[in-house]
């Protein structure tokens, strides 16, 4: 038993923290937040140069083949920002989906470009009848002679507007299949959704023709592969949320010392203390459940129960950590320039991404053998 980070992980943590401090200070994050696509060419160039996009990709496909825990350490630091952008969608969810589902030639063609950052993938799964189970994927892909033709709507797609390439789950006669689609192919339209969301879009497909070569892997058999990719990607997303909780905890402790009312720091009041104790309890529950899930995945153990639990706790934890941080901060917490609402918005944006807490608790029933035969 050794629950410490490895030297490599400590190095990743330090260098990423420093990068976020220098390159993604609060004013930069506030600027990014105002853009429909929360990304600049300059920031992306730096991200790619640091090799972040190749960390989850094996060396034979141009990546660095890091462990999942290594990758998670990076994303925790990004979550502290919170640094927005398509890093997770492309470098983790997209890359892992290709690794699980794609044929060898496809991997060789696309993964090195993901690793270098030349291509940015977004994964389009959910639809207007929203959900993360296979029966929620109903958009048809019909054969018209050679190519497939996609028609329909994918909704609440993360990072679609930043992407060069889309991995679209759709139904053929054989079942759920994955298609690689150029983000600017004729008939594809992306519309970033306004409101209490960050980088989430509607994607519409109107007679979009997809050549056979862009059918990812085997027709009709994609859900199991995607599900496995999702299971591996989820703890990395959870680490991002844990980073967010950590930042909210530190902000709230700091504010509890500085803000004075009734002649003393507000942190002297036990009711204020209780809010912060809620935050650290949510933070640590999410962190340690996720750490164990990462370890299980990295060591090839059955991680289903742990991953579902980690996602439920991280989604709930990040959302509620924000709520309690707002209780501590009161008025100043909702001032845009204070920066905390970046977390509040992110916690809501990511709440359902790859499945909301209820979905994962439901799936734990199966993983714990609680469903009657």
């Amino acid at each position: 038993m050794d629950l410490s980070l490895t030297d490599t992980q400590l190095l990743i943590q330090d260098s990423t923290r420093e990068f976020v401090r220098n390159e993604c200070a609060k004013d930069v994050l506030l600027d990014l937040d105002e853009k429909p696509v929360p990304l600049t060419k300059e920031l992306w160039a730096k991200v790619c140069e640091l090799g972040w996009m190749g960390m989850a990709i094996p060396e034979k496909y141009g990546g660095t083949g890091n462990t999942l825990t290594d990758v998670a350490v990076l994303y925790e630091e990004l979550g502290r920002g919170p640094v927005p952008g398509p890093m997770f969608s492309s470098g983790v969810l997209g890359a892992l989906t290709l690794l699980k589902a794609a044929g060898e030639a496809q991997k060789e063609a696309w993964l090195p470009d993901v690793a270098s950052g030349k291509r940015i993938f977004a994964v389009a799964v959910t639809e207007p009848r929203y959900g993360w189970s296979p029966d929620h994927v109903v958009m048809p892909a019909e054969r018209a002679g050679g190519p497939f033709v996609l028609n329909g709507t994918k909704l609440f797609v993360h990072d679609a507007a930043s992407a060069t390439d889309l991995l679209v789950l759709a139904r053929t006669k054989a079942g759920i299949s994955i298609f690689r689609v150029d983000a600017n192919a004729p008939g594809v339209a992306v519309r970033v959704l306004p409101g209490f969301l960050s980088g989430v879009a509607e994607l519409t497909f109107h007679d979009v023709r997809v050549p056979r070569d862009d059918l990812v892997g085997t027709e009709g058999a994609a859900w199991a592969d995607f599900d496995a990719a999702m299971r591996t990607a989820i703890p990395v997303l959870c680490s991002y949320k844990v980073g967010g909780c950590q930042a909210l905890f530190e902000l709230s402790v700091g504010y509890s010392r500085e803000r004075t009312q009734f002649g003393q720091p507000i942190g002297k009041f036990q009711r204020v203390q209780d809010h912060i104790i809620h935050i650290v309890n949510y933070l640590d529950a999410a962190r340690w459940a996720n750490n164990e899930a990462l370890w299980k995945l990295d060591t090839g153990q059955d991680a289903a129960v742990g991953v579902h639990m980690a996602k439920a706790l991280a989604s709930e934890g990040y959302l509620r950590a924000c709520d309690f941080a707002h209780e501590v901060h009161a008025g100043i917490g909702v001032m845009r320039e204070y920066g905390m609402t970046l977390h509040t918005k992110m916690s809501r944006s990511l709440y359902h991404f790859l499945g909301a807490p209820k979905h994962h608790r439901k799936r734990m029933e199966g993983a714990l053998r609680l469903v009657p035969a």
Binding site: M1, D2, L3, S4, L5, T69, V253, S256, R257, Q264, P265, I266, G267, K268, F269, Q270, V272, Q273, D274, I276, I277, V280, N281, D284, A285, W288, A289, N291, E292, L294, W295, K296, T299, M309, A312, L313, R361, M364, E365, L368, R369, L370, V371, P372
Partner: protein, 409 residues
């Protein structure tokens, strides 16, 4: 990160060694009453016998220094010992020994070399069973407000007062006790700790009638008592950690009691409860109810978070990692999740959870006991409110100076 408890060949062979040792040395006739209150004197004596045998190998207090009779074992081997004891339905030590578990770290940090030589080997070798005596009728959460006095008289101190909610069934050889040595002194600067032999004249132990004796972990105490001291004469050399220095010693003690050292192993009753629900329990198919399945997932998660906090604390304490609020956080978590789990169990199985009847009781009455224990467990080792206060100070909420964690070794 490595959560694995068993990995190397060396550890595997140690586990086999422990397992075959236990097979050979487990005293004949050891039984496992669900409620520690049902432990008979004969059964208690068998457990003490096992304790002495473990102590002879340095396995009773395996993480404590060998020099004083501990095992000096690395964390991995300590974990194996805990696991193998749990596998045969026992904890380590296999009997209630709060005074040993809590005093040993305090004596190691604050005791003189003479104190260490005199008191630690007896504890670590299982020759004595010790209670901890802190709470008084007028001092629960406010420990510094105790009233029991120890007044110097020649080579001894004379102790008068009353401790309550303490100890276990079947008595103790000695008690690790905090008292006032300077009744006119300043608060926090007037306390001292004594190791008091329990056979001294003037000590009366009176069992209490409680909902349960409560969840202090380790081996259950079975019973709680009120202990009266009436002109009890204790040799001065039994004062440990310096006269009127007791509050500092208490910080070490409380760090251990508040969960700072963590704990290993899951709550077996949760696993068994889920298994019971999977089966066609008392002719009912519980899992056909969506609400029951949801409640089972909820209680599983509650128990898992508690287990993970305990593992984290254990690892931190035993590898000397920096710690701050984690002990109190674990304790708070354990208390609150216990209540939550008890409610979920009640929801899933209904009033079956509330009987220890031979026909209708669940898991030989373990569920009924859990329902009561979860409530009693709210107070030992400090209430949930005190745990929050400790967390706040350690985190430094509203204050720039974070309260420091006490030394454990």
């Amino acid at each position: 990160m490595d959560f694995a408890i068993e990995d190397s060949a060396e550890q595997r062979s140690f586990r086999e060694e422990v397992r075959s040792w236990l097979a050979e040395n487990m005293p004949e006739g050891i039984e496992y009453p669900v409620d520690p209150g049902d432990l008979t004197l004969e059964q208690y004596q068998l457990r003490r016998e096992l304790g002495r045998r473990l102590g002879a190998c340095g396995w009773l207090y395996p993480n404590m220094p060998k020099k004083y009779g501990g095992g000096d074992l690395p964390v991995e081997k300590v974990v194996i010992l805990h696991e193998e004891m749990a596998r045969v339905g026992l904890s380590l030590p296999p009997y209630y020994d709060s005074g040993g578990r809590m005093s040993a770290p305090s004596i190691l940090v604050w005791g003189s070399e003479e104190h260490k030589q005199r008191f630690l080997p007896e504890i670590f070798k299982g020759k004595v069973r010790s209670w901890q005596l802190l709470t008084e009728p007028g001092a629960g959460s406010d420990l510094a407000g105790i009233k029991t006095t120890a007044i110097r008289d020649g080579d001894s101190y004379i102790i008068n007062g009353q401790k309550t909610f303490v100890g276990s069934n079947h008595g103790a050889d000695q008690s690790w006790t905090i008292v006032v040595t300077d009744p006119r002194g300043k608060r926090h600067e007037n306390l001292s700790w004594f190791m008091i032999p329990m056979d001294l004249p003037g000590i009366t132990v009176m069992p209490m009638v409680l909902l349960t004796s409560g969840g202090e972990g380790g081996a259950g105490s079975g019973v709680k008592n009120t202990v009266f001291f009436e002109d009890v004469r204790v040799p001065a050399e039994n004062l440990i950690g310096g006269e009127n220095n007791g509050w500092k010693v208490a910080t070490t003690h409380l760090e251990v009691e508040h969960g700072g050292t963590g704990r290993l192993g899951d709550q077996g009753v949760i696993r068994k409860f889920i298994n019971y629900c999977r089966e066609d329990s008392h002719g009912r198919s519980l899992l056909e109810s969506a609400e029951a399945r949801e409640a089972l997932v909820d209680l599983y998660i509650e128990a898992e978070i508690t287990r993970l906090f305990a593992i984290r604390n254990y690892w931190k304490a035993h590898t000397n990692q920096p710690r701050s609020y984690e002990g109190a956080q674990y304790s708070l978590r354990r208390k609150l999740s216990g209540l939550d789990i008890a409610e979920k169990m009640l929801d899933v199985v209904g009033p079956y959870a509330l009987t220890n009847d031979k026909i209708y009781g669940l898991l030989n009455g373990a569920v009924e006991l859990y329902e009561r224990d979860a409530i009693t467990a709210l107070h030992p080792g400090a209430t949930t409110d005190i745990q929050r206060v400790v967390m706040s100070r350690r985190i430094g909420i509203g204050r720039k100076e974070r309260e420091q964690v006490s030394a454990l070794r």
